[in-house]
Amino acid sequence: MELYIGGYAQGKLEYVRRQHPEEDVRIKNGFHLWVRELMEEGKDPEAETQRFLKEHPDAIIISDEIGNGIVPTDAFERDYRERLGRILIRIAAEAERVERVICGIGQRIK
């Protein structure tokens, strides 16, 4: 399993596709939005993530980094940032490779 993180529109998907040509089937793009949708539906994103990883042990996960801003006044937005952050920490701990992408350039941090 691999994790690619970075800011909005930093070229993460393109970067991942260059590293892994013809492996789109492994890629889970927009992971942050998936977590957000689960939260909006009142589901448990931590449990859903564990289930997803069990079913897709070789997944390539792409997520926006959303925690580097002023803490929002809206409780849901605060919860979203905090929970996505903690979920990504768990994914990173299990991943064989973690890269941060900025301006389309990847920096391997694990």
Partner: protein
């Protein structure tokens, strides 16, 4: 020794800072700045307390004037202190009871920075946790933008004075200055 740790919300910066403190061979102090005035703060404080349980940390609580912590420790020069966190301390110094949101940016940044550096000079090791709140591209109202500039000035000064600066991303420490 001064160590600066920066990360965003839910980045794992506090857990990493606590790991560093736990490995210290000195007396270990956790200096908390958060004022619990609502359920969410209390919950957050409870989570951090649970994270620290059984690690032999003494907890000090000072919402402002953190250098006063020195007088609360029997052997400050034989003590390691984790200050959690700079963003909260800055907010308290600006907006909490007796805080000064009207003071100039320069005055605020200098006063808060001096206070933290005074603490650092009087203990064996000071680990400062700060928050990366600077990358959401949102235009805020004037007071919030002033707060951002004050905190950023303090962070830059801390990083300059620090022996080590570490950014924590998804729980992974990234060396900014010094060696991990």
């Amino acid at each position: 020794m001064l160590i600066l740790i920066i990360g965003g919300s839910g980045s794992g910066k506090s857990a990493y800072a606590e790991e560093l403190l736990a490995h210290s061979d000195k007396e270990k102090y956790y200096l908390a700045t958060m004022c619990a005035d609502d359920a969410e703060s209390r919950k957050r404080i409870a989570r951090h307390k649970k994270q620290r349980e059984g690690r032999g940390f003494h907890t000090l609580e000072l919402p402002r004037h953190v250098s006063q912590a020195v007088s609360l420790m029997p052997n400050p020069m034989q003590s390691s202190v984790l200050l959690e966190c700079m963003s909260n301390l800055t907010a308290n110094e600006m907006f909490w009871d007796g805080g000064c949101s009207q003071c100039s940016e320069k005055e605020l940044a200098e006063r808060i920075g001096n206070d933290v550096l005074a603490l650092s000079q009087n203990v064996a090791t000071l680990i400062v946790v700060t928050n990366n709140v600077f990358e959401d591209g949102v235009c805020y109202e004037k007071t919030t933008e002033k707060y951002l500039r004050v905190l950023a000035q303090i962070n830059r000064r801390m990083a300059k004075e620090a022996d080590r600066m570490i950014e924590v991303v998804v729980g992974i420490p990234i060396e900014g200055k010094g060696t991990i």
